[in-house]
């Protein structure tokens, strides 16, 4: 479980919504009158999003400044290359422990607890976080406190003092997550289906265990910090500040750092899943969570615009084929959807999921697989393409409708080495996709026989049984949580 916010969790447990996730639209039949088409759609107000100022320092560090004077706040972040995919297997969980203990430890001048007291009294924040490919340090405060908060954040960046007690605290938090990781069906389904796609010991599915987090020391945290902070940092600041003053303040700190060390090239293998049927028993559920997964692609693939449109027509929204069939027509699922994923620098997953009551597991899985197979037998039409384009292009504006989003997009593109005008060229490419491109992409990328099907559910209730899927025997997956000292299990 995510131990972050029980309050939002509890609140969410009582809010019932129309859809499970943000989903995106279908076939027009004969209809006499469409009154909405008579409503005028005037020209959109002229809008050019203000791009942040980009400064590349001699040492390779990149700064972005985005002024925004609507509210009296200043926020910033330092993005640091290197994340959980760079951990060693024997110390899996290190990046997560680091990103917690960095902030809670604090610096030689001010420990983490003192920082908490000082910042919270000003309604300000300095936080550290970690992900798959990066860690980050961020700060925000009222304008009047911005200088002081910036100094504190830089002290934490350059002079952290990792504490044994705070590492231990982080280890306890992480251990709680480990022993609870089989409590929720959705968490099991997501985690184990990723392992089917990438493999068990892949950098993309590296799984902290009680033993591996226990092996992490304060020295490991310091070594990780020294190594990653020497990388190509991206510093971004947004909000209510004077740009010249802010630039000189940033230069004063970051120009003093040594030349950045480029990240070594990655040589990850992406074999994709072993096709077939996999099963995990969960006694306390009355609904199966079915994940149909394969390997996706990365954004540098020129077929991505066609794939994005294919996702919208196949599995992406209210009017997608899957939603229309499995939810609206058959009433078999509340949550159904997915898509052919594309990440910035490695192949993402191709995932379609359906959650259905135990008794209709086979029916819903068959209906979903039939829609996947249907991309070849029932090619996409001009009308479906047009609808998908309307969906995506008319909401495109929401990728840059706030300065915060514009800044975050530029940081993302810089981090992954994409050109700053990526969104514009992507939009142009989306506009050019033809129905032939769409169907070619579907034929090229959708191969149901290459996918793995994972069912997490309550076996005795699943009638008819999974053998009716005719996908071969259901391979059980052992998700027992190893206790420290136990030999590593093979999968």
């Amino acid at each position: 479980m995510n131990p972050q916010s029980p309050r939002s969790f509890l609140k969410a447990s009582l809010l019932f919504a129309f859809c499970a996730a943000s989903l995106a639209p279908f076939v027009l039949h004969a209809q006499q009158d469409k009154p909405w088409e008579r409503i005028p759609v005037p020209r959109l107000h002229e809008f050019k999003p203000q791009q942040p100022k980009r400064i590349e320092l001699k040492n390779g560090i990149v700064l972005f400044l985005e002024e925004d004077h609507e509210l009296p706040f200043v926020s910033g972040s330092v993005l640091i290359p290197g994340g959980s995919r760079d951990e060693s297997l024997s110390k899996a969980g290190l990046a997560g422990l680091y990103s917690q203990a960095w902030r809670t430890s604090g610096t030689a001048k001010m420990n983490g607890d003192q920082l908490d007291d000082l910042l919270e009294a000003k309604a300000a924040h300095i936080e550290t976080a970690g992900g798959e490919d990066s860690t980050s340090l961020s700060w925000d405060s009222l304008k009047g406190d911005a200088d002081q908060v910036f100094s504190l954040a830089m002290d934490l960046l350059l002079h952290p003092k990792f504490s044994v007690e705070k590492l231990q605290l982080a280890q306890q938090q992480e251990a709680t997550g480990i022993v609870r990781r089989n409590d929720e069906e959705s968490e099991i389904a997501e985690r184990e289906s990723n392992k089917l796609v990438y493999g068990v010991n892949s950098p993309y599915t590296i799984q902290p265990e009680l033993a591996t987090i226990g092996a992490v020391t304060v020295d490991d945290l310091q070594a990780w910090h020294d190594r990653t902070v020497g990388g190509r940092l991206i510093v971004s600041v947004g909000g209510d500040f004077d740009p010249a003053a802010m630039e000189s303040k940033l230069r004063a700190v970051f120009e003093a750092l040594p030349p950045v060390k480029p990240a070594p090239a990655r040589h990850d293998a992406f074999p994709g899943p072993t096709p077939g049927l996999f099963f995990i028993q969960k006694d306390d559920v009355n609904q199966s969570n079915v994940q149909i997964v394969g390997l996706g692609t990365d954004r540098r693939n020129p077929d991505v615009p066609a794939l994005a449109l294919m996702n919208d027509t196949l599995a992406g929204g209210f009017a997608s084929r899957l939603f229309q069939k499995v939810r609206t027509e058959l009433g078999l699922a509340y949550a159904v959807g997915g898509g052919y994923g594309f990440a910035y620098d490695h192949p993402a997953t191709f995932r379609v999921e359906v959650l259905t009551k135990s008794a209709t597991t086979v029916e819903a899985t068959k209906a979903t697989l039939a829609e996947l197979a249907g991309v070849v037998s029932r090619p996409f039409t001009e009308e479906e393409l047009k609808r998908a384009k309307d969906d995506i292009l008319n909401t495109f504006l929401f990728r840059y409708d706030s300065r915060e989003k514009v800044l975050a997009e530029q940081v993302r593109l810089e981090f992954y080495g994409y050109p700053p005008n990526y969104l514009e060229t992507y939009k142009e490419a989306l506009e050019k996709v033809t129905v032939a491109d769409l169907n070619a992409a579907a034929r090229k990328y959708i191969h149901p026989e290459k996918l793995a099907v994972l069912v997490v559910g309550n076996g005795p209730e699943i009638k008819p049984g999974l053998e009716e899927l005719k996908l071969g025997p259901a391979h059980p997956i052992d998700i027992a949580i190893p206790q420290p000292g136990q030999p590593e299990k093979k999968q």
Binding site: L15, W36, A335, E461
Partner: protein
């Protein structure tokens, strides 16, 4: 307590005073700036429109706030408000149909076929299996006939093709909200779509959607340990008020809701006087209001629905629920407190802030940092709703090897401190500063603002209360906190619920048998 905060803490009060002063000035400015940019209009049908101009980007967000939720579901029909919310995406007599006149006839037949089937199904004595099967077959045929006239999901399709972003709705116990964002040049199209579904909803594909909603229940409640725990916790904490009833509905009830019942709910609660629509973004009130008025005037007028009269009786016995299952332990407890209209509402917020906002909070420092028994712990209120008297709740997840009983004891120690000694000046000042700053931070978001304006307009009759609430925040004293803690945190006012880890064989049938007609 104080020495634990270390030397520099003595420098805090002046800094706090400055921060509070700077923020107070900002608040006054903001209310003024919002008053200049915000226009309110009550239409002849009673519906309130709020337009707030914010010209950062050529987009707008809206929130339609219905002052009715699952707390208003009639007895035996739990889950009805949420069922209707799903219906509100199914289109109108003009959108989603190939031939409404013919469809209407077909839908009447579906309803009659369902009634006949249910009457047989619910017979306690003498149910005839053959007759039941025949009636089911007749129902399925009637449904298929009606389906011939449907253009599925056309309402959402038109919205999304025109750039609707974040399209969704939420039904809580207190209220129902519909929302999305759109490019500003679609304002009139949106006004047509939104007013159409409020005024002219058609109960098409109702019974398939009911199956979908039951799947939602399985996902969020039946198959989720915390979902199950919370449902049992609330059902135990309340004996009379509907806050104790499953919001998404008990399976046997939500499984038998009919389209007729959903439309009856709509007729009663979806009247102008019970609806506020707030729009925030790149629009001009002078141009937008006439357009909005034209469309939203179509919503039927009607008397404001009567308020619920059930009052939860005073709890006099401490209650507990224990779930033994193969899940890691969780602890919850709750104490009855008054509704948001109580003069002490802000005092409860102060208590939550001091107990559980961030790593400076008392519960974090005590249970997580110092005693090292919990991974997460929080006190918050009101739950599960604020319109009627809700609960002040505590939630804790123990670290491996620690138990719910340890959570309970450690939380009670913190509660006792609140009752027997004053909070510090610093803690109280921090609550006030953070509350102001959080309010300000929320103002740069069209959707968040639309939701807030609509909610405050509904709850207080004036959106300005969003800013004015800070006056009540400022008035909270240390004595208030101690007084309220002594009033509310009383053993006989407590319900606690927890999960105790048990081997799978001991489970008491967590995956429940399903009820319902189908």
């Amino acid at each position: 307590m104080r020495s634990a905060f270390s030397p520099w803490f003595s420098t805090v009060p002046p800094a706090l005073a400055l921060a509070a002063l700077a923020l107070a000035a900002v608040q006054a400015q903001d209310l003024k700036s919002f008053e200049e940019r915000t226009t309110t209009k009550v239409l002849p049908n009673g519906l309130t429109l709020i337009v707030c101009e914010r010209h950062e980007a050529p987009v707008f967000s809206y929130s339609t706030f219905i002052d009715a939720g699952d707390v208003n579901d009639p007895s035996g029909e739990s889950g009805l408000a949420h069922m209707f919310e799903h219906l509100a995406f199914k289109g109108t007599s003009q959108i989603g149909t190939k031939d409404y006149a013919a469809e209407k006839v077909a839908l009447t037949k579906v309803e009659a076929a369902n009634d006949a089937y249910e009457a047989e199904y619910l017979k306690a004595v003498g149910r005839d299996p053959q007759k039941l099967a025949d009636l089911k077959k007749a129902f399925v045929e009637a449904e298929a006939e009606a389906h011939k006239f449907v253009i599925p999901n056309q309402f959402t399709e038109v919205a999304e093709r025109n750039g609707a972003e974040g399209l969704n709705a939420e039904t809580g116990l207190d209220n129902t909200m519909y929302f999305w964002s759109m490019p500003e040049n679609r304002l009139e199209l949106w006004a047509w779509l939104e007013s159409s579904r409020l005024a002219d909803v058609v109960p098409r594909e109702f019974y398939k959607e009911r199956d979908v909603v039951i799947e939602e229940r399985r996902m969020r409640t039946d198959s989720n340990p915390i979902g199950r725990l919370v449902e049992q916790f609330l059902a135990t904490a309340y004996v009379a008020h509907n806050y104790g009833r499953s919001g998404i509905g008990w399976p046997s009830e939500v499984g038998q809701i009919t389209a007729t019942e959903a439309m009856e709910f709509h007729r009663k609660y979806y009247v102008g006087s019970n609806i506020v629509v707030a729009v925030v973004g790149d629009i001009k009130a002078s141009e937008a209001l006439p357009v909005l008025e034209k469309y939203f005037s179509r919503v039927p007028a009607g008397p404001r629905p009567e308020e619920m009269t059930t009052v939860e009786p005073k709890q006099f016995a401490e209650k507990t629920v224990v779930i033994r299952e193969a899940t890691q332990p969780i602890y919850i407890e709750g104490y009855h407190r008054p509704s948001y209209r109580d003069p002490d509402d802000a005092v409860y917020d102060a208590i939550s802030d001091i107990l559980s906002n961030g790593r400076v909070s008392r519960l974090y420092r005590s249970l997580v940092r110092d005693q090292q028994i919990a991974a997460v712990v929080e006190g918050f209120s009101p739950f599960p709703g604020d319109k009627y008297p809700g609960l002040y709740c505590f939630f804790a997840a123990p670290l491996p090897g620690h138990t719910p009983a340890e959570m309970r004891d450690a939380i009670h120690k913190e509660i006792d401190k609140l009752k027997t000694s004053d909070v510090s000046d610093e803690e109280l000042a921090m609550y006030k500063t953070r509350t102001r700053a959080d309010l300000l931070r929320g103002l740069a978001n069209n959707q968040g603002l639309a939701n807030d304006l609509a909610e405050y307009q509904t709850r207080y009759g004036d959106w300005r209360e969003l800013f004015r609430q800070l006056d009540r925040v400022d008035k909270v004293t240390k004595a208030d906190i101690r007084r309220v803690a002594n009033q509310v945190f009383v053993d006989s006012n407590r319900t606690s619920a927890w999960i105790e880890t048990a081997a799978p064989a001991q489970q008491a049938g967590a995956a429940q048998k399903e009820g319902g007609a189908q």
